[in-house]
Amino acid sequence: MAWLLLLAPLSSAFLVWVALRRHPRASQAVSITASLITFLTALGIALGRIEAPASLAWIDLPGLRVEIGMTLDALARLMLLMVTGVAFLIHVYSLGYMAEDPGRGRFFGELSLFLASMIGIIVATNFVMMYIFWELVGVSSYLLIGFWFEKNSAADAARKAFLANRVGDFGFLLGILTFWATCGTVAFHPEAARALAGNWLAPIVGLLLFCGCVGKSAQIPLHVWLPDAMEGPTPVSALIHAATMVAAGVYMLCRIFFVLELSPEALSVIAWTGGITALVAALIATQQNDIKRVLAYSTMSQLGYMVLAVGCSGTTAAMFHLTTHGFFKALLFMGAGSVLHALHHEQDIWRMGGVGRKMPLTFVTFGIGAAALSGIPGLAGFFSKEEILQVAARSQPVLFWMAAFTAALTAFYMTRITLVAFLGQPRTDVVRHAKESPLVMGLPLIVLAGLAIVAGYPFFGIVRYLGGQEAGENSLLVPAASLTAVILGLVAGAIGYGRASREPIAIPLFQRKFYFDEIYDWTVLKLQEESARLLSWIDQWIIGFVLVRGGAFVVSLGGEVLRLVQAGNLREYAFVFALGAGGLLFLLFGR
């Protein structure tokens, strides 16, 4: 029964790809039912009614045994619930959002493929199985980002996303191989990892595996693809680049935590990467004008929080924040999506304004989401961010203060876009006759808004489900610091953008995204293009021309010379004949 989790979306994807692409209505139906089936199965598993099935031997050779099976522990069950739930809501939402797009049949097929691979990562029982679905998630994100492949920018963004993921996977695979070489197995057996304890390889394995997370969860330095991934349709951004795929990296870290905890150095590196990413992303988000890009950087920043939490060995805090973040970030993206849908894909917040009056439902739900994200007490974000700050305070004080400052920044940029986009006067006429999105898009917003409010409280039981909080007492300093940060952020936001009609402060460093793109273009791409051109020149001229055809030329030259010996003059022939005879005699008698 549990196999349904994988089989349903996979078969739906295959069916759509092979047969139903031309019939959007049928492919939508198939895809949504598949998503519903996965949600119900996940529910069944969560309620303990369905056990993990026996595993199949995918590769069984002397020296390597790779199995396809399912681990359904608390971590996996929670993640399954969150992913399948959000996915189902986004499927419903996409019905409305993609209503008039001719290629939507293909869209739903690719959504099912993504869902299957995401579930694959969650239930993976060994590194190779995780790597398999890890790459499949990369492929489906490539397909979904590049859905509107006519747009050059979308096609380039898709390629950039896949390549960044691929670099991360490269490190991930090396990590797996080193783990397998030292511990002899690829399965997630904590006792097998004993071989790594105290071994100088432990930090290397930890960091290599972390590379996979850096690639997938868009941590610095492999984060450049996430903002461009906004080229994809908004449901894609909501599902993949907010709730599930980017979270896979964090989930992976929690899943293989038994390896990371063997090397404190690796953990501190992870923590610092998380902290820096959170800070940098928040800073960039403050200066972005495109609503989806702001949300993208905000996702990057929140992921930095989760990675920070894992770095400070607060896996429960990380998972708690991951779940709550999944709810309200998906809500924010879908809210933004419904605004874009109404404003015919106008994404610049400075050309919006006063949308709240025209689209009340979207405004309210978006507001709840923004509040939850900024960490306003009483909502989900506050509780989960609190946990992370507690964990950070305990082990990395410097990072704690950075995180607190980032919390302020988060509140600041969320108020900024809410005020600029939803309140104030409509700045362009397209806003004037915008009207509320259809109910099929509104419903998921309402459900998620509810979750955003409720999810944080203990009675909802996420933390209890994960097996209780980490040990260690909570210092009072943390709630105080986080509250002040939030208030400061809100106030600064309100002052700055209460009645602003255009961007008051312009900080080019943040606007240009710390010039990461330029740096990459200049170093990685240029280096690669130049070396490729040089090597191809060498291959064409040195190996191809000088060596190969040179050799041929020498041979033909030899032929030419020998040909000229035959000068046609009889006397010369006689001479050569005599010379030959003489040579013969000399050889016979010379020795």
Partner: protein, 487 residues
């Protein structure tokens, strides 16, 4: 009459019929279809779980005092069966994909069948003479196929290819003779199993193995486009007509690897060990040097040519780490690369024919006009980049695992190849099929009707092997285990 001989007879008689004037395309399609079904039947009948040779047919061919005995010895084991399947499938696809109206069709199809007959013969024969002779069947037909039906500067390219491969096969001939020469007089035989047994019981001193192995490695290396000897391959495949490129890059290139796997390394382990550092260095050339050169390519067919040379690096790595994982990985990847290369070259042929363009600059947005071809190219690209769920991934994975313990650093560099291949492959997808559609390509027409079946076949094979490698591993695993137990 072992079914393997029937395979050869079917193709030979098809050529005969064509020469007698039968409608070339229909006859060769039927023959290829029959052969494919027959090879599936052989696969089904293949006793899994136990290694060793099956469907064996063995009679004396030439037995004269001084000359080592030549036997018509045909058989298939866990390692050569997948290659036979690959050959019959790619032949069927190649013939089906070739354009219906083509000048001098009779000659065209008979040369294609000769190519496939050569490969089939080489993979089933267990006698060094037949093994070598069958492969050489393909040399002149390739020359004629590229020369007459090729494109761009086909004249020079096909001449260079034929001379280069001619040199390679003659060096190989010298290697085979050197191998036989090293043995004492009474042990000299062309029969591979008997050679293997003999050399297992009384191995020859490593110093004596140096020269024969060097010759064999150079010969097979040239046929497989190992790094410095690769200049013939990329532009040869680029200018060849699609079916010829499919058969040559997809199937015939595997002859060299199969030769190393079956003859060079097992019979001369000392030589292999001695030359190992050299080959490891050269295969890095394949992955990095040729990999980066592929990125700089400006035309689709040339890029595919370079990419198929680059992938040989993985296979050589698998060969060099002589363990169960590596060798099974090599067999799997040989089949997978054959399928993906065939698919990609078929698509390149379609793009050249229907869009009339091959350089990235002029192409773009074809996915809108040719959705089916775009999907085929996407599947082929993802396969060749090693995405899980398609056949190349399990092969590459096994090779990486096999090679990691003995050569971690070199394997790490080779693994970087998966990023390089992603770069150039996706750039091809981006600039040919995505982005905006240039004006002059507005009316390109997609592949329709029965012409889609070969693509579907190749894609299905890639998917099946990718999702469940057990289909082949069930046969390859025991075969390799038993094969390695011999040394």
């Amino acid at each position: 009459m072992s079914p393997l001989t029937i395979l050869l007879v079917v193709e030979a008689s098809a050529i005969g019929l064509i020469l007698l004037g039968a409608p070339a395309r229909r006859v060769s399609l039927v023959a290829a279809g029959v052969n494919f079904l027959l090879s599936l039947w052989i696969y089904a009948q293949f006793p899994s779980g136990i290694g060793g040779w099956h469907f064996v047919e063995n009679h004396s061919w030439i037995a004269l005092g001084a000359l080592p005995e030549i036997r018509y010895h045909v058989g298939v084991d866990g390692i050569s069966l997948p290659l036979v399947l690959l050959t019959t499938l790619v032949t069927l696809a190649a013939i089906w994909v070739s354009p219906t109206q083509i000048k001098r069709a009779g000659e065209f199809y008979s040369y294609l069948l000769l190519l496939s007959l050569g490969a089939l013969g080489a993979f089933v024969s267990l006698d060094l003479f037949f093994f070598y002779a069958f492969h050489e069947f393909a040399l002149i037909p390739t020359f004629l196929l590229i020369g007459i039906w090729g494109t761009e500067n086909r004249q020079f390219v096909s001449l260079q290819l034929t001379l280069y491969l001619g040199l390679g096969s003659l060096v190989l001939l010298a290697g085979i003779i050197a191998l036989l020469g090293v043995l004492p007089a009474e042990a000299r035989t062309f029969d591979i199993p008997r050679l293997t047994e003999y050399l297992r019981d009384n191995p020859i001193s490593p110093r004596q193995q140096l020269v024969p192995f060097a010759l064999l490695a150079a010969g097979f290396g040239t046929l497989v486009s190992l790094f410095p000897f690769h200049s013939w391959a990329p532009f040869g495949y680029a200018s060849a007509p699609a079916p010829a490129a499919m058969l040559h890059a997809g199937v015939l290139k595997k002859f060299g690897l199969y030769g190393l796997l079956r003859i060079a390394i097992p019979l001369l382990p000392g030589g292999a060990e001695a030359w190992k550092p050299w080959i490891l260095a050269l295969l890095l050339g394949n992955v990095l040097f040729v990999g980066l050169t592929t990125i700089a390519q400006k035309e689709l067919p040339a890029m595919l040519g370079f990419s198929s040379v680059m992938h040989m690096g993985y296979l050589f790595l698998g060969l060099m780490c002589w363990n169960a994982l590596g060798v099974s990985g090599v067999v799997l990847l040989m089949v997978a690369h054959g399928l993906s290369a065939a698919l990609l070259f078929a698509v390149a042929g379609e793009v050249r024919e229907r869009a009339g363009e091959i350089s990235f600059a002029e192409l773009g947005g074809l996915a809108r006009r040719m959705p089916f071809v775009a999907v085929a190219f996407l599947v082929g690209s993802f396969a060749s980049v090693g995405v899980p769920g398609l056949a190349n991934f399990p092969g590459e994975l096994l090779i990486f695992f096999g090679a990691w313990k003995s050569q971690p650093l070199i394997t790490a560099v080779v693994i970087w190849g998966i990023v390089i291949s992603a770069v150039y492959q996706l750039r091809a997808v981006r600039s040919v099929f995505y982005g905006d559609l240039p004006q002059h390509l507005a009316e390109t027409v997609d592949v329709e009707g029965s012409k889609r079946i070969p693509y579907a076949l190749l894609m299905a094979a890639l998917l099946i092997l990718g999702i469940w490698p057990g289909t082949l591993l069930g046969v390859v695993g025991p075969g390799v285990k038993e094969f390695l137990s011999l040394y």
